[in-house]
């Protein structure tokens, strides 16, 4: 496979561009979208590259149509992605739930900007974290990855496709306007250096008939591909193993939804990713994700120089969430600071995990500027002087 961009070397590109290239190297061959700042460059890059690798990029009438189109493409056997920002992500919520219920592997990118509503189109925010996790209705489970660098935008997008295929689930890549538009030097591996996971296909006539069964006991059903001779029924209604609607049977509903939860939650160790910095002897911790974790990292270095035993837990995934790990962290430190570009979202997850074993303090900031390291340092020094 020849790609219409550099592989096996470094390039100096925007986060949006990195996401598009990563998607293509992970096997994405269908993109549907509707332009929106700050995610439009993902669409532009996909429109440029996909026809050159025998893929399809299509502009839909809106974001509802965009996510519907990628769900259809996925059932037709293509790895598929859409990208948007807050207003479009809101429109996608209904079909995000449809993708959960029909167990359709898709990747949805949300480059967050200031909200609610059309808000601050050009400026970064982290106000959609709870929406990414809980935006659609009903009991549901999905995976949310949050990059903090352009390199991570690339790496996490590849990972998003692999997780989507492996667990037959929608995966959200939750970036922000800063990552979207900043340029950094990125290492783009050779194609053979990238691990690419493909979905399980039916292996027996029985599996062909049961697109929502669990033949392997791992909660992940083999997924038939439309057009290859299978007669398959796909519905957002509660369905049995054959895909047939069964909307008033309590046990069938419970079995289906609990399996959708179990296939993710039983594999938390495989899915959840995080990095620890200087936490070994820390008495105070910062928990951060995405763009803000960079400023938090610098703040840790500045505070260490001033003698404070502080470390950083940087979360690559925010859902599923490792509440046990958060409890263990809370047992080791007396206070956890949570800087985030909203008025308190990740904070609530951290607080729930900490179970009162450490005090959890929010360092909120909204308006479109990332916390500076100095601002985090100042808030923590003030907090620790008390």
């Amino acid at each position: 496979m020849r790609y219409p961009f550099v592989t096996g070397g470094s390039d100096f590109i925007q986060g949006d561009e990195a996401i598009a290239r990563a998607a293509i190297m992970a096997g994405c061959r269908f993109y549907a979208g509707y332009p929106i700042t700050p995610a439009s460059e993902i669409f532009e890059a996909m429109a440029l590259y996909l026809p050159l690798v025998d893929g399809v990029s299509i502009q839909m009438e809106d974001e509802i149509g965009s996510i519907a189109a990628i769900i259809g493409a996925s059932w037709a056997g293509a790895k598929a992605m859409t990208a948007t920002s807050g207003p479009g992500f809101s429109l996608m919520q209904e079909n995000l739930g449809y993708a959960v219920m029909t167990e359709t592997p898709i990747v949805v990118v949300n480059m967050q900007r200031g909200g609610p509503s059309t808000g601050q189109p050009t400026l970064p925010a982290q106000g959609d974290m709870m929406q990414a996790i809980w935006g659609t209705h009903g009991d549901h489970m999905l995976i949310v990855l949050v990059p903090s660098t352009v390199q991570e935008a690339f790496d996490f997008t590849v990972r998003a496709f692999n997780l989507a295929e492996k667990y037959r689930t929608p995966v959200v890549v939750l970036g922000d306007a800063e990552i979207a538009h900043m340029r950094e030097r990125v290492n783009i591996p050779e194609p053979e250096e990238i691990e690419v996971v493909n979905r399980k296909l039916p292996r027996t006539p029985e599996e062909e008939r049961m697109p929502f069964g669990d033949p392997d006991g791992d909660g992940v059903p083999p997924m038939p591909i439309f057009g290859r001779g299978y007669r398959t029924y796909v519905t957002g209604l509660t369905h049995d193993e054959f895909g047939h609607p069964k909307t008033v049977d309590r046990e069938i509903h419970e079995r289906l939804i609990k399996r959708i939860f179990r296939k993710i939650l039983d594999n938390k160790a495989d899915i959840i990713s995080y990095h620890e910095y200087e936490l070994e002897d820390a008495e105070v911790a910062i928990v951060a994700t995405g763009i803000v974790s960079r400023s938090a990292m610098r703040a840790v270095k500045m505070l260490r120089e001033r003698g404070l035993k502080i470390g950083l837990l940087k979360l690559d995934t925010i859902w599923p969430f490792d509440f046990d790990m958060m409890k263990k962290l809370a047992e080791r430190v007396h206070r956890i600071y949570v800087p985030e570009m909203n008025l308190g979202q990740l904070y609530h997850l951290v607080k729930e995990g900490a179970e009162g074993l450490a005090e959890v303090t929010l360092i909120d900031k909204i308006g479109g500027e990332v916390h500076t390291p100095g601002e985090i340092v100042e808030r923590i020094e003030r907090g620790e002087r008390r």
Partner: protein, 170 residues
């Protein structure tokens, strides 16, 4: 090293930042480039930040610039406080009247004289900056210009770069 370019829309400030970043990336350095511009595409202030380091970069925007390149008074006034006390200020000496020690040349005039258009002012200033600071090699910058300027304008942009580079080498 933190470098900040400041000017007004239409001066190619962001492209100068991108080309400096690309040149640093060519040399295998870690580099982060961000930009900030007011909504007016021409006439409003325009800022480009480039952070270059051998270490991982955690900063996003320039908070304590080692070098500030100012191509217009409006841009200079907007961000002059972000330049470190002992930092280097490089200005278009025709268009910016600084209130502190500085170096520079009439970049816009040099662009017009050497290429017949003021549009290459960003390249003149970039050449001057690179000659003065040695932040990247000339060859890397030339390669970056070839990759990033519109097709067909490579020669004129390189000529403008070299005018600035020579001015800065003096």
């Amino acid at each position: 090293m933190q470098v900040r370019f400041a000017g007004i829309g239409g001066q190619g400030v962001v492209l100068a930042g991108i080309i400096l970043g690309e040149a640093a990336a060519i040399e295998g350095l870690n580099v982060t480039q961000t930009q900030d511009y007011s909504s007016a595409s021409r006439g409003g202030h325009s800022i480009a930040d480039v952070i270059v380091s051998r270490e991982p970069i955690y900063d996003l925007i320039v908070t304590e610039a080692d070098v500030l390149v100012a191509l217009h008074q409006l841009g200079y006034d907007t961000v002059k406080d972000s330049l470190r006390k002992d930092g280097t200020l490089i200005v278009d000496t025709d268009l910016v009247k600084p209130d502190r020690e500085y170096t520079g040349a009439p970049f816009t005039r040099l662009a017009e004289e050497s290429t017949g258009t003021s549009l290459t002012v960003n390249m003149v200033a970039l050449g001057y900056l690179i000659a003065r600071t040695g932040i990247v090699k000339r060859e890397s910058a030339i390669e970056a210009i070839k990759r990033r300027v519109p097709k067909g304008t490579e020669e004129i942009n390189i000529r403008a770069f070299d005018v600035g580079f020579e001015e800065g080498s003096g």
